[in-house]
């Protein structure tokens, strides 16, 4: 049963992708309905797996010598993320029916979306590390193809390239990890590694652990690989919601969480993970504060929230990280999709040209504000509960490991989050309209996607009890999570540090309203803003690397002289070198 569902949840979207390729362009109704049908089918299959979750191997596909058996385990962690990918994927597809209305080459668009959904589900369900890498790369490929979907736009093409190259670069870390595991154990079985990390020598384990960290950082846009995500915002907005907010970028967090039991004793690894999370969260929050492009602000906030999750994993709060991931997937998808509705209506992404939109788009305003409050961490909304859990995990780690300064930075970041969230909401929906323009509210299909997400943002935190049970009882038994009823969790969250956090959040909000009076601080922040909008120099580093490679490539071309004499010279020189090496080595 479970094996069938696994095959279905990957196969249905992939089959749909294939059909869409075949369908070709020019029949938009057919294309839209095919896409919605197959996305919903995949979503249903993924949801049906939740009650069946088990930590046993559910499916084995023998492949052969060097590749090992392709195994799948639908455990709690896996089915949860699979469900998130498939369900949010379905909503994004439904939303696209309106958003992509009248676009060319819909087949290409939907095929890649469906291909991505299947790949993402496969990524979280497999327990073969090589296969995981395979799916990992598929998601990167789809992400690239979709970022560059509007490929007559050079910015979109450049953004896609950047995302592809950076995530590939990080992917090498995962590949090396897979190779290492195979080299030592003869297979790619993740479960065996989690059960007994000792099967790898300590040095190799450390190598693999940091390789995984690099891969995760690249995928989840963490420091120092964060630069690709903001540029990825050239993608159509439903893609930003699905891939660059709710699912693919979570793959990095998933990877770290999955391997935490194996890597947690690697010296300095948890510390490094936490550090990456803290730096990213803080830096991205500062950048969000100065950005004027609506989607970029959301992108930076995604990076920042992912930083929270990574921080939580490093601190040992696997459950907190996953719960925050859950909340974040919902409210960030909501934010992106409603931002998409705004952009679709206004025709620009620049927040300075918006303002006062609330009156014309009441529904969009309502759902956007819901998402924004969750992001800012106001109580009642799901984001606040999960962020509390993350910070509590951080505090626990601080007590044990002397990392209090990290905790403090994270709390300050929470305040900053509230600040930029309010700035964004105010600039988009309130104040005076800055341009004369008649806009209309979200379309029917958009509403179908937005409203469930908004409701979920309000109530998803109530599921904390069942959620913890799911992860605890059915996840591979190496994580040692605690399952408790919802009420116990809530009581635990409402402790004194929470009040401090809430105070900081409130301070952040007040800072926005009192921004004129804080001119001095603004002045001080201006320099920081400049640095932030240049990604603290990482853009420059990025460009420098690209330029250096380009320079080398250009210089090397001089050696292809096209002169026959020099060509023969190469031959003679090779002969001399080869003979000399042979003589010296003998």
């Amino acid at each position: 049963m479970l094996s069938t569902l696994i095959l279905l949840s990957i196969g249905i979207p992939w089959f749909g992708a294939f059909l869409l390729w075949l369908a070709g362009d020019g029949k938009p109704r057919l294309q839209h309905s095919l896409a919605v049908m197959f996305a919903l089918g995949g979503g249903a299959a993924a949801l049906a797996m939740i009650p069946l979750a088990s930590s046993e191997v559910a499916l084995v596909i023998p492949v052969g010598a060097v590749f090992g058996d392709f195994t799948f385990i639908a455990d709690g962690l896996g089915v949860f993320l699979a469900a998130v990918a498939a369900v949010i994927g379905s909503l994004a597809v439904i939303f696209s029916v309106d958003y992509m209305h009248g676009e060319h080459q819909l087949s290409r668009y939907y095929a890649f979306v469906l291909f991505f959904i299947g790949g993402m589900v496969g990524l979280v369900l497999t327990s073969n590390l090589l296969l995981m890498f395979f799916f990992w790369e598929i998601t990167a490929l789809c992400s690239y193809a979709l970022i560059s979907f509007h490929n007559d736009d050079p910015k979109a093409v450049a953004g896609g390239m950047k995302a592809l190259v950076i995530t590939q670069l990080g992917g090498i870390g995962l590949l090396l990890g897979a190779l290492l595991l195979f080299a030592h154990t003869g297979n790619y079985d993740i479960t065996a590694l989690l059960a007994n990390p000792g099967i790898l020598p300590a040095g190799m384990l450390a190598f693999m652990a940091f390789g995984a960290l690099a891969a995760a950082a690249a995928k989840s846009a963490q420091f120092p690989f964060q630069t690709w995500l903001p540029d990825a915002m050239e993608a159509p907005t439903p893609i930003s919601a699905l891939i660059h907010a709710a699912t693919m970028v979570n793959a990095g967090v998933y990877l770290l969480a999955r391997f935490y039991p194996a890597f947690k004793d690697v010296p300095y690894w948890p510390l490094a993970v936490m550090l990456v999370g803290v730096i990213t969260a803080l830096m991205a929050a500062l950048m969000a504060l100065s950005a004027n492009d609506l989607k970029r602000v959301l992108a930076y906030s995604t990076v920042s929230q992912l930083g929270y999750m990574v921080y939580a994993v490093g601190a040992g709060g696997i459950f907190a990280a996953q719960f925050h991931l859950f909340s974040h997937a919902i409210f960030k998808a909501l934010l992106f999709l409603s931002a998409g509705a705004v952009i679709h209506a206004v025709g620009t992404r620049d927040m300075r040209e918006m303002g006062g939109l609330g009156r014309q788009m009441p529904l969009t305003r309502a759902v956007f504000v819901t998402g924004a409050l969750a992001l800012a961490g106001l109580p009642i909304f799901n984001g606040s509960w999960s962020k509390e859990l993350v910070l509590e995990a951080g505090l626990k780690a601080a007590e044990a490991g002397g990392t209090l300064w990290m905790y403090i930075l994270m709390v300050i970041t929470a305040g900053l989050t509230a600040l930029y969230t309010f700035r964004m909401v105010a600039m988009v929906f309130y104040g005076q309209p800055r341009t004369e323009r008649h806009v209309h509210d979200a379309g029917a299909a958009m509403k179908v996607a937005l409203v469930p997400l908004a409701l979920a943002t309000l109530v998803s935190w109530l599921a904390v009890g069942p959620f913890s049970r799911l992860l605890d009882e059915h996840t591979l038994p190496y994580h040692h999570l605690e399952a408790e009823p919802t009420l116990v969790w809530l009581k635990e969250v409402l402790a004194w540090p929470t009040l401090i956090v809430l105070a900081v959040v409130a301070a952040g909000i007040l800072a926005w309203f009192g921004r004129e009076k804080l001119a001095g601080i603004t002045q001080f922040l201006r320099g920081l803003n400049w640095a932030a909008s240049n990604s603290f120099g990482f853009e420059a580093v990025n460009r420098a690397v690209v330029a250096a490679v380009g320079w080398l490539a250009e210089k090397l071309r001089a050696f292809q002289t096209g002169q026959l004499n020099w060509n023969i010279f190469g031959l003679a020189a090779a002969l001399v070198v080869v003979l000399a090496i042979l003589l010296a080595g003998a």
Partner: protein
């Protein structure tokens, strides 16, 4: 003793063949080098191949060269080489020097006695696959020459744009 003279002659001819400027003269010196090589082969105890080298290498090939030079024509070409001569000389000295250094100790151990030989048997029986393959080589060579030099009756003008 004869061998030294012949060998020196062959090498000398080769040097002149590559260093004179006129192509026709170069081809003739190449024929000389070829003839002396044939002689050296004979001295080495390989009379059959010496005869063949004399007729093909010194004869046929020279004719072909003269033919080609006639069509292509002599042409004064600037003497300055593309690869600096010192660099070329250096790399060749290094390569040949290394080769000689590595090979000579094993090669100068002396020759075994000539065994009773039968070139025809060896070539037509033992190595007959090589012989058959020569047909392929000749076929391909003929194709290539015909293909390259044939004048097309309906000669189309090939335009090349934007090299």
């Amino acid at each position: 003793m004869w061998a030294i003279l012949v060998a020196a002659g062959a090498v000398g001819c080769a040097v002149i063949a590559v260093s004179v400027r006129r192509l026709l003269v170069s081809a003739l010196w190449l024929a000389g080098a070829s003839a002396l090589t044939a002689l050296l082969l004979y001295l080495l105890g390989a009379p059959e191949i010496a005869a063949i080298e004399l007729s093909v290498g010194a004869g046929l090939v020279t004719v072909l060269f003269v033919f080609a030079i006639n069509i292509a024509g002599e042409e004064p070409i600037e003497k300055k080489s593309v690869v600096p001569r010192w660099l070329a000389g250096g790399i060749i000295l290094a390569a040949v020097g290394l080769l000689a250094f590595m090979d000579l100790p094993r090669l100068t151990m002396g020759l075994p006695e000539m065994a009773g030989n039968d070139f025809m048997l060896n070539f037509w029986t033992n190595r007959r696959l090589d012989m058959l393959l020569q047909l392929i080589l000749i076929f391909a060579g003929v194709m290539a020459v015909v293909g390259l030099l044939s004048e097309d009756p309906a000669k189309r003008e090939h335009k090349e744009e934007g090299k």
